[in-house]
Symmetry: C2
Subunit: 388 residues, 2 copies
């Protein structure tokens, strides 16, 4: 009697905390001229498995063909699925931009808030359906786009009380040229996969993997680079970050930052918070993905926040002090009228049939977070009392 | 380059209209003590096809098993899917209540707002992914639950400007006893399916179908009942509706109202609006469904609003008058600071790189609904002008 494996129900208090965080983030983005859009949860399976999504492509929940199409595919031994649940909001966004281009502003500044699905092995704090909150700017090739995304994301995190959040930054082009300097250019993908594990396996672990790829001599140079990484200064290719003014202090250049997705082409980001070891968001520039669907390349950059991980960092809010329970005995007509009047005065009013054991009922309502109660009796003045 | 068949993207203005309607409905329900909850989009396939959902069970999008489970099922010729996308919010809610019972209030007053999926033949105005907005009361067997749902739904529709909405009401128990009186008790399901088509095929059409079932003589009695239906008075079993006071005038008893779902056990509702021929919402009492999962029956009643159909009735809102475009030339650092200051003053501020053809750019921004613009220049006072 549980939700499907790795998925979860939200209790009223959990849902309220989530919606309150989302409202604050949404308002911050909207104040900066971002506009919310929405795409369906399903996309063509072929689009979700076209090589853009890195390892996530292996984690797609596939939706079966229907009716005769299914029977035919089964008989012919062909692919039985034609649709898939999206594993991120970026692949659908690029498809959306290509689909709706003519009806969108030349530069689209999009907010997307929605669930994504990945058939990962369930772990603590990692779900098979989880919520992402993305902002993307499509159609601006200049660093103004990166600057806005960084500034808006930090403002959103500030708005929900996470002003300790910082951003690690790197550039894919820099990674590629460094790999070439280190003699790893013929093993680029594998070398990046090894470097991506630095947080988990440390410098020795990464060097061991690189040694297997290119031998001891070449990996020696990589060790020097890896050890110097924590103190590296902001490179020329990221000089634009200085335009962030004071906010630039919340950026840290990390030459070893990789990020897994195949589609990044320029700056990449990962958002961190001192209270947790994992990232709470990330993103980057992906100038070639829209072109996969639309034919012509369109510059694009985005930042995604992981809402579940952010909620873990935010203390639960306390009960509201304007929530009233109106206890009803028999006829409800007067109580419904009274409820409407109290709502007009600013109360939240829950009607409840008065139980035989009224004392236990009141104790339960107090525990549920209601602040006040009153007995409704036709013709009598309401006597509103605190539920202590 | 489109979304999957029968599904749709929401453009910024469409999404804004939808969210604004949802906020108003949500606030109306929350003011009455309803609490928002959420369940995953996927449920166990067996639960979605257990005979509760009527015809909708045939329309489930099925999700394939993964990895070895899939290979094994394929080899053994077994069911290849283990999960399905929900076709309504009621079946998941009853599973939710059974799963989380211990952590929920004794009487749960739930709001659910979320997409559902049905693999129907796409038609104008009918989508394969669409949004439902439900309120349900679980744990109250008295008519207080029905009264609250009706009163809250009408208040929500009023809040979004649909005060012309009315509710057709009937009771499944009354339908059953009427069918017995008409000699149709041995063909109950088929008779109800025929009566459910009254709006489409008229009295003659329904009588023709009933004649096939039970012969001419019996169907003659049914004709009399069908013809008298529009002027039927509120019956004893629905006498509780008088407690709605003035709101009772927005209820109309319709003895021929069936509603398709298999799970209803008592009062049933369908919400209508004079401007459209189809219903914009509906619901009813389903006292036996929670018991299917939890073992013990738990009284429950709910009303669902169809958000797409409601949005069709609401005129598009006009542009806001506090939206400013700040045109940036080179360095963005000052513009980012200025943006933050203007937001603090209450503006929505979109940064935009100044185009070579500034005149065309301004015309485009005006068409997109922005109300004001200003050129940003470091060290100069901002000159905010209307974008006419």
């Amino acid at each position: 009697m549980t939700p499907p494996r790795g998925m979860r129900d939200l209790l009223p208090a959990e849902k309220e905390a989530r919606e309150s965080v989302l409202s604050a983030i949404r308002a911050t983005y909207q104040a900066r001229g971002f506009q919310e859009i929405e795409t369906p949860a399903l996309e063509e399976l072929a689009r979700l498995t076209s090589g853009q999504g890195g390892d996530n492509e292996k984690l797609v929940f596939k939706v079966q063909k229907r009716g005769e199409d299914f029977e035919r595919a089964l008989e012919a031994g062909e692919e039985l699925a034609d649709l898939g649940l999206r594993f991120d909001l970026t692949v659908p966004l690029t498809r959306y931009f290509a689909s709706n281009n003519a009806k969108l502003p030349r530069v689209l500044k999009a907010i997307q808030i929605g669930p994504v699905w990945r058939a990962e092995r369930p772990q603590k704090g990692r779900y098979r359906q989880f919520l992402q909150c993305d902002i993307d700017i499509i159609g601006d090739s200049t660093e103004l786009a990166e600057l806005e995304l960084i500034s808006a994301s930090l403002a959103a995190l500030d708005a929900i009380g996470l002003s300790g959040a910082t951003i690690r930054i790197n550039d894919r082009r820099l990674l590629t040229s460094t790999m070439a300097e280190l003699g790893l250019q013929d093993h680029l993908d594998k070398a990046l996969i090894a470097i991506d594990k630095l947080d988990k396996i440390g410098v020795d672990g990464v060097v061991a993997e690189l040694t297997e790829l290119v031998g001891q001599q070449a990996s020696h140079a990589a060790r020097g680079w890896l050890e110097a990484a924590p103190s590296a200064a902001m490179p020329e290719i990221l000089a634009w970050t200085a335009q962030l003014g004071l906010l630039a202090q919340r950026l840290r250049f990390d030459p070893t930052l990789v990020r897994g997705m195949g589609y990044y082409t320029g700056a990449i980001f990962e958002i961190e918070h001192p209270e947790v070891a994992y990232s709470i968001g990330g993103g980057g520039r992906y100038d070639e993905m829209v072109g996969r669907w639309a034919g012509t390349d369109t510059p694009a950059v985005g930042i995604s926040l992981g809402i579940e991980r952010i909620l873990d960092l935010i203390p639960a809010s306390s009960a509201t002090d304007n929530s009233l329970v109106l206890l009803v005995r028999d006829d409800a007509s007067g109580a419904l009228r009274s409820q409407a009047e109290l709502i007009a005065q600013g109360w939240r009013v829950r009607l409840e049939r008065q139980a035989k054991n009224t004392k236990a009922q009141l104790a339960e309502l107090a525990a549920a977070g209601f602040s006040h109660f009153a007995f409704f009796q036709e013709g009598s003045q309401l006597d509103i009392k605190p539920l202590s």
